[in-house]
Symmetry: C2
Subunit: 438 residues, 2 copies
Amino acid sequence: MLMKHSQVDREGNVFEPPLQQLTYGALLSGRTSMVVDSSNTAKKALTIAIRYAAVRRQFKSGKNPFETCLIDYPIHQRRLMPLLSQAVTLGYTGLAMQEMYESLTEALETLEPGEAGLQEVLEKLKETHTTSSGLKAFCTWACLETIDKCRQSCGGHGYSAYNGFGMLFQDFAVQCTWEGDNTVLALQAGRGLISNYMDAMANKRLASGVAYLADKTIYNASLGSQDKLTDLKVLQRAWDCVSANVTKKAAQEFQAHYKETKNKEQAFELCSQSRFIAAKIHTIGYIVRTFGGVIEKCQDRQLQPVLLLNLQLYALWQMEEHAVYFLKYSFLTSSQMDVVNKTVDELCLKLRKIAIPVVDAFAISDHILNSPIGRYDGRIYEAYFAKIKRCNPQLPEHPYFNRLIKPLLERSSTADDESATINVDEDIAEAQKERSNK
Amino acid sequence: MLMKHSQVDREGNVFEPPLQQLTYGALLSGRTSMVVDSSNTAKKALTIAIRYAAVRRQFKSGKNPFETCLIDYPIHQRRLMPLLSQAVTLGYTGLAMQEMYESLTEALETLEPGEAGLQEVLEKLKETHTTSSGLKAFCTWACLETIDKCRQSCGGHGYSAYNGFGMLFQDFAVQCTWEGDNTVLALQAGRGLISNYMDAMANKRLASGVAYLADKTIYNASLGSQDKLTDLKVLQRAWDCVSANVTKKAAQEFQAHYKETKNKEQAFELCSQSRFIAAKIHTIGYIVRTFGGVIEKCQDRQLQPVLLLNLQLYALWQMEEHAVYFLKYSFLTSSQMDVVNKTVDELCLKLRKIAIPVVDAFAISDHILNSPIGRYDGRIYEAYFAKIKRCNPQLPEHPYFNRLIKPLLERSSTADDESATINVDEDIAEAQKERSNK
């Protein structure tokens, strides 16, 4: 297996494979599966937090006879619904990536050097390599953030080890480090984007995922008065516009530093903050485009609007989170940004209404969840208490409870206080003696 | 102690204290100390990460004979220096808060109902209550984020349990939940701000910390062509401007919802996202103003520029992080925002040059750090390996190492392969037999 691509003979001579890029394949597979994993782990945390929010009530409002469920507070919807839409979006993006990766490796394995179409496949490979670096970084970060935000949304019960968030977080945290530190991977993706931008300016052919960089009109795009913010094409254009502009800024910074230092590596280091931002915005745009493609192909009339709602919320929430670029590059005006905020509020409420069926559809069994406050049947307190009792069995006999503590607990409030004065140390010593006699 | 303020007699009659607001005191003390704790815990994580970054080298650049230290990469400076400036800033803010709290409680304890100056002290108490809610929330979040970012900046060694980040994170995480869930506390602070804004519009007297809301010119402030971004007064004005505007937006939303629903509580819930943002921006502005006050009073000529550098970096980095509001309310233009980005890069480099003395000044002993990669003397690998050996003592005797594994490891590469064929199962069984015979 180690000799699949490069070969070494007994005398130590190394023979490189005819297509060196083939070896990228191994990295792609790991990173692609980490996108799916990020979605799956986030779904686990969200299932717990959303079910808990639907059961737990806190504070009465107005004439309502019951206290309000956490999930009915607008701020709680703001805390959880965008994360839910993100988990759904990343899940489908991961699956689409996996399909793309499989057809790509199949093409690579069967290609011979010099064959027609080789250049195109290699260009595609390069693009997938760059994009999967960005995806690995930003999806694992998104998942880690989701786990902790879900934990916090459950208050003290979220912090309790019985509900599993602590272990979920610690186990997942390493994903941000291994298979390439996220920051370093993001910078790789940013480096690829700068090279793509320069290719675009030189009118070279670009792979489909970065083709928007060659569209001269995208750099000055803006939201038209007829454009609906929830329209897939509008959302895609919005992300292409800011992504093209932040990539252009990174490339210009790189060129300025290169002119000054005459050192390519140093120039790349000096523009690393802009490279990082370019990678982040491109990756979100890529996710929006990829999931958008899945939704356009979806034939199921009941499923399609649910998927669309998730993508709309994800894309607009991320637009809020990175609003500065939409204002800076004038895709949106300040008052249009207020409309984005309002639309996110509305979409959160819309998704809240189907949030329980959506998390049920993730089909994570109670056994796998291993979190009483996330139970499918909603009987969380019974399950919680049963788990605590199971994990902390009572001692078969308590050395001095019946004789000493019980009378103390049950004494009448008017009883003479001094009668309850007890020398506990003496009693413990006595009880230990009793035990050791058995 | 439980009867300090309210009194209950044997018949169950409750006597409220003459000044009910006195009972806020207990909450204030807890929250104030959590600001200091956040700073101290963040300093611990930063000491480890910054010392490691100064020792660890990775990749050669140009003709340099050595590989580059992590801390000399601009992106690594971007990862750690803003967090360092934040920890320093929060530390001094916490101390200033503590002093304020102490003089306030002293005034409260000695005040008699009806006394002159009572109204002012109570106004001050209300303001401190609101501000400390916001501070508790955003400072504990900032610390938790710092711990995880420091861990990630140390790569795989950051994830290793020997270096302590995992436990630091898990132990601190609860601070975001107890003494009031951070989101709920932030909303309380936002509610206070809306009421302050309405007082300002009604020309009522405001406490000093929110007095900027009454300044009619602050809402349309912008960066003048002569203004230096690193000037304390300019920074304070910048934060007051956006803070006033986001508070105004929250108050207007509240009023619109109140008109519609006629229900105050519901109106507050419906504007909670804007309330949250108002609390966040006000809190940062409060921190900038408080630490600015400390720096202005600082007489030490060597210390003062170091403190100033930390505040400049903190205030401008936070301006980047919340850039959308500075653009939206036209305090900055897009090209001025580019200057902010460049200034943050420069300040990161400037702080990097003194980063080691700064973390040494935190004076956290190796014993308290309990993290070999964070050692004061920089001999991290020796300490790391020694700790691993100490925590994992070798078995006193290895049943078959000398007889079987050692010859295998030391065999010459030309040796006949078949001579090394070993039936391990058989040998383990044999070794176990030997052991049980002893």
